[in-house]
Symmetry: C2
Subunit: 66 residues, 2 copies
C-alpha cells in the first residue's frame, strides 16, 4: 500500500512530530507509515483523512501484492 502522507504534510507545512501530536500517535508511527514500514489501522487513517481534509482513498491506495 502506498500513501501521500509526505505531500499532504508538506501542503499543511507540518513536521512528522506535529502531525503525530495532532493525531495522538508517536512520531515514529508517522515516520513508519510514511516509509512503508507498516500499515496503519483504519482508525488512524480516518484521523489522517480528517486532518488533511481528504478521503482515506485519496491518501492511501492498494498496490500489487496487497
Amino acid at each position: 500500500m502506498k500513501n501521500t502522507l509526505k505531500v499532504e504534510r508538506a501542503i499543511l507545512d507540518l513536521t512528522q512530530d506535529e502531525l503525530a501530536q495532532r493525531i495522538g500517535v508517536s512520531r515514529q508511527t508517522i515516520n513508519s507509515i510514511e516509509t512503508n514500514r507498516y500499515v496503519p489501522s483504519t482508525v488512524l487513517s480516518l484521523k489522517l483523512s480528517a486532518v488533511f481534509g481528504k478521503s482515506v482513498n485519496a491518501i492511501f491506495s492498494l498496490e500489487e501484492g496487497d
Copy 2:
C-alpha cells in the same frame, strides 16, 4: 469506529464467508469487524472499499473515543 458492513453486504447479497473469501481473510475477521470486536487495517478497509464500490470514509467513521 462504526461501520456499514452489514448493510453493504446485504446490498450485494453476500454472506460473511463469501465476503471474507473475496478479500482473502477469514470469516471470523469479517464477523469481528462487523461486531466491532476489532479495527481492520487500512489495507483491509481499502479492499472492502473496492468490493463495495464505496469510499473507506463512506463505510467507516470515527466515533467518540476513537
